[in-house]
Symmetry: C2
Subunit: 241 residues, 2 copies
DNA sequence: ATGGTATAAATATATGACAAATATACCATA
DNA sequence: TATGGTATATTTGTCATATATTTATACCAT
């Protein structure tokens, strides 16, 4: 064992908190199915008694569980902590945060988004239900109606369209991943004043995407998506710099 | 507006907590780059003064930020809340929770991973540097050495190999995303007792992947990756149980 | 049936205090 | 000088007690 190559035999030690034990116990009960979505946990006071700890410590634990998406907390009579429905939303939010923190280049984001969005649209071409198609069509119709009244801000409808498209792929992992990648773009897009040309282009592209999905034409859908993303990401890129 | 079709004009209202405002303010500073990883926040006492709220409320907010993976908290002199390095681990942990709770299915995860991993290996075939290739080779060599001494546990070397491969794609977004998606799988694999057949297969596949990347043969690399993932994911069918 | 008020239950927040963890400074000893 | 021990200061962790706020329900009046 030379000076330069120190072998790591031990791990960092961290003293745990009492509240972590509470978190762990409640998690175990949730994962074991002893607590199901919608079930109410005992009140903070009761939990404090059961755990033999103070109410503050219990609240600490509950805040952690809430942040992990495992419980929701309601105030007032009949309130308390309730086991949450499992959702990919917290995962997506966290992935969004983590990506944001990394100071990623637009180029990397664009590239990653291209890969995932084209996969999504390919899957959507296979898997979209009538409901999905309807949702996509409605987003397009709403964008058209908005434009007809002179409102060039198509962002909201674009978000809705892309959300419906991603749902049509029937893969929640891709859904939350692409949402995390999209968020930076939509944030920027919403800040700029979109012109009517962009609105028109968005509507046209969305319609083409929908048509391709309806026709189960995955290759065409992927191609349109690529062009769509490249067009819009060039505009966002200009503004961001 | 008939009885059966009630138009939703309003959204559910929820009274916010004071601590959420603190969370938001700290997040804004982190995302704006005013607080960088490693930076220390003021003490709880000082934050309480700055926000004009009690220390309890500040602690609430800090617990949330900690659970979101944005800060780490240290006890004692020189302690306090420090801005965390972005890590895939909190995302993976949350993803694992959702898998356990069946909010997401293994099938969806596998499908998403297939898409992203094959894109990564395609990019790596174009972009890998000598350094990347060396790192991959070393992971393979380490796995071989381990196996030669009778240690069938190749998981660590597999993690290293895939990490090196993902770095070779030169896209931080894909790297981070795939690390988040991969970890639940490895955590499960590590809990199994892998047999030597699996170790051998991993080493062979990794070598084939490396060879394809060296040869800039993206199509071959993608094909090997697909087969590799399908082989292993069949053996880890139930992730996070 | 509708509206208003009181009450109870539960979380949210505050204040003050002590416990525990940790880094640093200082001193004694070999 | 290096090592070990102790004291001190700083900071988080937890506690006890209390009040504020939110919300559902019960009850009464119109």
């Amino acid at each position: 064992m030379s000076e330069n190559n120190v072998v790591q035999l031990f791990r960092t030690v961290r003293v745990s908190r009492a509240s972590e034990d509470i978190v762990q116990q409640i998690r175990s009960n949730i994962f074991a199915g002893k607590l199901a979505p919608g079930d109410r946990l005992p009140s903070e006071k009761e939990l404090a008694e059961q755990f033999g700890l103070s109410r503050v410590t219990v609240r600490d634990a509950l805040r952690v569980l809430e942040s992990q998406g495992l419980i929701t907390i309601k105030v007032g009579a009949g309130g308390g902590a309730f086991v949450a429905n499992p959702s990919a939303r917290p995962v997506s939010a966290m992935l969004t945060d983590m990506l944001r923190l990394q100071g990623l280049s637009t180029k990397e984001l664009v590239e990653a988004r291209l890969i995932i969005e084209t996969s999504i649209v390919t899957l959507a071409a296979e898997r979209a239900t009538a409901e999905d198609l309807d949702a996509m069509q409605q987003a397009i119709a709403a964008a058209r109606a908005g434009r007809a009244t002179g409102d060039p801000n198509f962002t909201r409808h674009s978000v809705d369209f892309h959300a419906a498209l991603a749902r049509a792929a029937k893969n929640q992992v891709l859904l939350f991943t692409v949402n995390s990648l999209r968020t930076p773009f939509y944030d920027t897009l919403e800040k700029l004043l979109p012109d009517d040309g962009m609105a028109q282009r968005a509507i046209e592209d969305h319609q083409k995407l929908l048509d391709a999905v309806v026709a189960h034409d995955a290759a065409q859908a992927a191609q349109v998506m690529r062009e769509h993303l490249m067009y819009f990401e060039k505009r966002v890129e200009k503004i961001a710099t």
